[in-house]
């Protein structure tokens, strides 16, 4: 039977200090080793992976082009000065794969296999194969980046709800919410939740209003969102840059 013995606190403290002095400088190197190992565990043949990525990128570009044209047509019909806007910049899409997850279950952060060497930087948005928003880059290194998913508690993005309402989408482990939408705004269930990314002149959809609660004494609506991205944990996502 296992029985306990007394703790020698002095030796314990000395051991901790020694361990910290040796291990702390090695963190970055060990982090790279783990990500490398995790990437190798995926077992995806490189040629096939590249081919699939090319096809998916083309499909996604076509889909985004169709949406762009629809949004432009709608804008032209509504506004008198619809043509007085700057020319669109060329959109670049980088297909990436999720190689590892943040081991903590209190965060929704993934590690993708592209970094500064691929032209990525902090603040870029990620979409899935259907063009729906998935997350945002929060940290980049040379060969990999950390992507914060929409349902991370620290994820925030200003969004539009329906036609005119404007609020802040906040990620949460128990469900996505849009806050600061005024009570007088015309919002209904199943209205689309969308955002504008600086490179695009058309909306990037995030979700739909799942539940809506109006209270007389509250300035703002209580809105729950159902994400349109059906499986954000797919291995393939696309970074817009």
């Amino acid at each position: 039977m296992y029985s306990s013995s007394k703790i020698n606190y002095k030796n314990l403290a000395l051991s901790v200090i020694l361990a910290l002095a040796i291990l702390l400088p090695l963190r970055k190197g060990l982090s790279n080793i783990f990500i490398f190992l995790s990437e190798k565990l995926l077992f995806i043949p490189q040629n096939y992976s590249n081919y699939v990525e090319t096809i998916q990128s083309k499909k996604l570009k076509l889909l985004l082009r169709v949406r762009k044209l629809s949004a432009l047509q709608e804008e032209n019909e509504k506004l008198k000065k619809a043509l007085n806007f700057n020319a669109d910049k060329a959109v670049n899409i980088k297909g990436v794969e999720i190689v590892a997850f943040d081991p903590s279950n209190w965060r929704r952060v993934v590690i993708v296999n592209a970094g500064e060497n691929d032209g990525l930087k902090k603040g870029l948005y990620a979409i899935d194969e259907s063009g729906f928003l998935v997350g945002k880059i929060v940290e980049t290194r040379k060969n990999y980046s950390r992507l914060m998913l929409i349902d991370d508690p620290d994820f925030n993005i200003p969004v539009f709800v329906g036609e005119t309402a404007f609020g802040l989408l906040r990620g949460s482990l128990e469900g996505i919410k849009v806050i600061y939408v005024e009570n007088k705004d015309d919002v209904r269930v199943n209205d689309k939740v969308w955002c504008k990314i600086s490179f695009f002149s058309f909306p990037v959809y995030i979700g739909e209003v799942r539940r809506l609660k109006r209270e007389r004494n509250n300035l703002f609506l209580d809105i729950d969102v159902r994400l349109l991205s059906t499986n954000p944990y797919l291995h393939k996502i696309f970074i817009i840059h």
Binding site: M1, Y2, S3, S4, S5, I7, L12, S15, V16, A19, L23, R27, K28, L30, S31, F34, I35, S38, L41, A100, F101, D102, P103, S104, N105, W106, R107, R108, V109, I111, V138, E139, R146, M148, P153, S172, L173, E174, Y233
Partner: protein
């Protein structure tokens, strides 16, 4: 020199860490496998061995994690010290209660520092963690034949 029993727990901790890293079940399992492995280690192994392993696993955990507060290489040894203190004062048969207490403490730590307050999520985390702990204990018992006398 490592004994066979020590190697088994190292393999298990490594496997649990890989489960947390690759998440083959996506986020269906709302639990942290490495944390469960560390508590299991602290409940069943001597202090010095558990301390070294908990610092190492916590350190590797922090290498991959994004902005963890508190850092796990401090949290896991603290868990070990608390478990040891409780085991000194109570009979070893209260292991399941100790595990439950540690899960609740872990939930409180992460909820406080991560600003996550959802009773349903906490309850799900507790239930999933407890189930995984029970399965892990059962599998380990089956795998291990006898308790070595060297640890008395």
């Amino acid at each position: 020199m490592l004994k066979e029993r020590d190697l088994k727990i190292i393999y298990i901790l490594f496997f649990l860490f890989l489960l947390d890293l690759t998440k083959p079940f996506n986020y269906i399992f709302i639990t942290e496998f490495s944390f469960i492995g560390i508590v299991f280690l602290c409940l069943n192994y001597p202090f010095r061995f558990s301390f070294i392993l908990s610092v190492i696993v916590g350190y590797f955990y922090d290498c991959i994690s994004f902005k963890t507060t508190p850092p796990h290489f401090i949290e896991f040894p603290i868990i070990l010290i608390i478990i040891r203190y409780v085991l000194l004062r109570f009979h070893a048969k209260v292991k399941k209660f100790i595990f439950s207490g540690m899960v609740i403490a872990h939930i409180i730590f992460n909820a406080t520092f991560g600003s996550v307050f959802s009773f349903l999520y906490f309850l799900t985390f507790f239930i999933h963690s407890y189930l995984v702990f029970v399965v892990l204990s059962y599998i380990f018992k089956k795998w291990e034949k006898t308790f070595p006398l060297e640890y008395i």
